[in-house]
């Protein structure tokens, strides 16, 4: 009996150790994207690849981790890859856009294996069918030649091409203003300029200009929101304000030089028409449709100030 319990404990211990070994078998997270535990790459190749993956991470927020190992900890290679992804936290939180590439080389006559595990956030862009084709048509042929670096490199390029198309276009939509938006902003500024231009007294003119500026800033902000920009940087706002102000200035200049008739001025600003008020009223309707500049007056004259 005693012997049996001892034996039983021994079995338990062995079992415990083996599970311990299995869980510990998965390597701890490292600080590099390339983890060549199976020593398939030269130092130069490792550096090249690392540089590329780091750039990808910094510029496009795509995280690709490459692991070569001869020990899959008695797991299926797919499980191993997913386990790495989970434990190492590959990809950005919320986006779940990491890619784990695990490569097990041929070893002592055993078949080699490769698995590419895209995070849940990008499985739409990297469906199984595409990954499978990539592996079979691009990677395996290189690996068979023993060209591990070339195979991995091609895989990375293919994955980036798949991912960055959408990533980049999303970035563009969010962060920059296109020609169409620019023209629209300028036009809105122009219209605002027509409404807020002029004024009889300098004080009113200045008040109108300040109002115009404030409205330009506010409507610029609203328009940017309307264009689908969630976070508007102050420089973008400044830029839109400048564009709108250019439009407004154009309107002000044109109205000053007489291209735009300010109808508000011409009506009712011939003050105190008592002696001829009946005349004025009579003629008003007829004359309302006279456009200044293209008007009927066709003579000459001279004027000035004193």
């Amino acid at each position: 009996m005693k012997l049996f319990t001892k034996f039983f404990r021994f079995i338990l211990l062995i079992y415990y150790l083996s599970t311990l070994g299995e869980t510990n078998c998965i390597p701890e997270p490292t600080s590099t994207f390339v983890n060549d535990f199976a020593s398939l790459l030269t130092i130069q190749e490792k550096e090249n690849l690392e540089k590329k993956l780091r750039l990808l991470n910094d510029s496009q927020k795509i995280q690709i981790v490459v692991i070569t190992t001869s020990n899959l900890c008695n797991m299926e290679i797919s499980m191993y890859a997913n386990e790495i992804g989970e434990r190492w936290g590959v990809g950005y939180e919320g986006l779940d856009n990491g890619v784990v590439i695990v490569i097990k080389p041929m070893h002592q006559g055993k078949k080699g294996a490769i698995f590419i595990a895209p995070g849940r956030g990008i499985q739409g862009q990297l469906p199984d069918a595409i990954v499978k084709r990539l592996i079979e048509q691009v990677i395996i042929p290189e690996f068979k030649k023993g060209e591990y670096y070339s195979g991995i490199n091609k895989a990375v390029i293919a994955i980036v091409n798949k991912l960055s198309k959408e990533e980049v276009s999303i970035e563009q939509e969010k962060k920059s203003i296109g020609i169409f938006e620019l023209v629209l902003l300028g036009f809105v500024g122009f219209i605002l300029g027509i409404f807020f231009g002029g004024g009889k007294r300098p004080v009113i003119r200045i008040i109108k200009l300040v109002l115009l500026f404030i409205i330009n800033v506010l409507s610029g902000y609203l328009f940017l929101k309307g264009f689908g920009m969630e976070h508007i940087h102050w420089s973008t706002l400044l830029f839109s304000t400048v564009v709108m102000s250019i439009g407004s200035s154009l309107a002000l200049l044109l109205s000053r030089s007489g291209f735009l008739k300010d109808s508000k001025h011409s009506n009712g600003e011939i003050p105190r028409t008592q002696p001829l008020s009946h005349f004025w009223e009579e003629k008003k309707e007829e004359t309302d449709n006279i456009e200044f500049g293209g008007g009927r007056f066709n003579g000459g004259g001279a004027g000035g100030t004193w």
Partner: protein
């Protein structure tokens, strides 16, 4: 803007000038000019229906007293006859009075110049009717 007496002087000058010509002369005065005086004058010319004369020979004198701006303009009929120099010369003469602070004399001088020119090219005929009222417009 003007006293009754000043008003009479100006309307008198208009009447006198128009006795010799078939054309119309009017004066438009306001305190401030919302734009350039020439532009404002042309605008008013049209608004006042002065382009309606048969021979297109209306003349308008425009004065913005507070803004110290003025203009004298004539429709195409008279302009063809007198040319640019006439307006310039008349404007200079008016300005000389204005700078001395004599608004009324400036306006009267303008009316006289215009009247002389108009009477040369558009002399009064017996059947002539006063096409437009010849008062000052404020």
């Amino acid at each position: 803007m003007l006293s009754k007496k000043e008003e009479l002087i100006i309307t008198g000058a208009i009447k006198e000038a128009e006795e010799k010509t078939s054309a119309e002369i009017r004066v438009f005065m306001e305190e401030r000019c919302p734009s350039e005086p020439l532009r404002r004058a042309i605008e008013s010319f049209e608004k006042l229906g002065m382009t309606e004369t048969k021979e297109r020979n209306g003349v308008l004198i425009y004065v913005a007293i507070k803004d110290r701006k003025f203009a004298i303009i004539g429709d195409i009929g008279i302009h063809r006859k007198v040319g640019n120099d006439f307006w310039k010369k008349t404007a200079q003469e008016m300005k000389a009075h204005f700078t001395k602070g004599d608004i009324v004399s400036g306006i009267v001088a303008g009316i006289k110049q215009a009247g002389d020119a108009l009477s040369t090219y558009f002399p009064r005929r017996d059947d002539d009717i006063n096409e437009l009222p010849d008062e000052i417009i404020y």
